[in-house]
Amino acid sequence: MKRSKTMELGVGIFMLAGILGLVFLGLQVSGLTFSAPGDTFRLEANFANVGSLKPRARVTMAGVTVGRVTEIELDTEWYDARVVLELDAELEGQLPRDSTAAILTAGLLGEQYIGLSVGADPETLTHGDTIRDTQSAVVLEELIQQFVSNMATN
């Protein structure tokens, strides 16, 4: 009977350790938080070239993450890319209408994300509006081409 007790204890500790391990993987490794996803609102932005921007990429403002990209599709009217952004609801009615969105790269080889910078228009962007002033992703080939042609003219 005593042997069975220690066995039960061993199995109990084993299972508890497994569950604690899963909690560790959730909290420490994948950075899961218990806060529910807050309210969001949608903005659209058209870019001439999105580079390698992916859905779920970050949207930042002054380096702080304020939302994410939800959709990227080809706009067949203008033949550019329409990107749908989902931003924190507290920014609704706070961003001036002439704010700009640029596609930036984190580090040399890092992922691409969208950086917003504030304009000065008194009117503000609300749900479903489009950001007019955008800056496309930097494509390395174009940069090199420009550099080479500059060299040639000099």
Binding site: S4, I13, F14, M15, A17, G18, L22, V29, S30, G107
Partner: protein, 260 residues
């Protein structure tokens, strides 16, 4: 020529028959835990299959995590991207290495023992005697082992991941001098709980079912001689390893290959 064809056909029929028997066997034996006595049998098997496998799984996890960090560091430092070490260690462990390596170790440590145990019971006619006194060996012998394996391997896989990530931390941060904050922050930024941790667990559950199923079925279905037992034990390890690696490719293609 015709004899060859006939032989091939017989092989095919035998194979299908075995597969069918294994399926019926799984269906019959998976309903056997609820009674109080069954619970105790399950606990005993959990101890044997789970707790006693802990040492080998955790030690392997620690070393695999440390090797990953060391190898990853020497590659990443060329690109000046050694901050991404945590991300690399965590993703490769959670998505691939933990489920697969833990399942392979489990097949070698616990699966072969299950086959040999059940096989010897069959060879010494304990299973037949159980049937004679009205005890269903599927419920009494096979079901607790099946369920113990099904629960134990995912827990072992979690342990493997945790210890591996800590091992990577020890080598990467404490020894090689990657900044502590970027190790965890990069990891947290890139590891998604649903996509990575839960998918790894799903893989592990599938492997647990398959490995334990193969082990107990090989034990139950073997030819009851000493040679038969040794062959069945070998088959358990070989089949389990092959099936785990093959299924891993299929599952990875479904989860991360963009097929869904």
């Amino acid at each position: 020529m015709i004899a060859r064809l006939q032989q091939l056909g017989r092989r095919g029929c035998d194979g299908l028959e075995t597969l069918g028997r294994a399926g019926v066997f799984l269906a019959l034996s998976s309903f056997g835990v609820p009674s109080r006595e069954g619970w105790h049998l399950w606990l005993r098997q959990m101890h044997f299959v789970g707790v006693l496998s802990l040492a080998i799984v955790l030690v392997s996890g620690l070393f695999i995590g440390m090797v990953l960090a060391l190898q990853g560091y020497t590659i990443l430092v060329d690109f000046g991207a050694e901050q991404a070490l945590g991300q690399m260690v965590a993703l490769s462990l959670l998505r691939e290495l933990s489920p697969v390596v833990a399942a392979l170790l489990f097949a070698g440590r616990a699966g072969s023992a299950l086959t040999a145990e059940i096989g010897l019971m069959k060879a010494t006619e304990q299973l037949t005697s159980m049937e004679m006194i009205g005890v269903d060996p599927l419920r009494r012998v096979v079901a607790p082992r099946l369920w113990a394996g099904f629960v134990a391997l995912p827990l072992l896989t979690v342990g493997f991941s945790v210890v591996g990530i800590v091992g990577g931390y020890l080598v990467g941060v404490e020894w090689l001098g990657v900044f502590d904050g970027s190790y965890w922050a990069n990891m947290q930024a890139s590891v998604d709980f649903l996509d990575d941790v839960v998918n790894g667990m799903v893989k592990s559950l599938v492997f647990a079912l398959v490995v334990t199923w193969i082990a107990v079925f090989q034990g139950y279905d073997l030819i009851p001689t000493s040679e038969g037992i040794s062959r069945a034990t070998t088959r358990t390890v070989v089949y389990s390893s092959l099936v785990v690696l093959g299924l891993d490719f299929v599952l990875t293609a479904m989860m991360f290959g963009g097929l869904s």
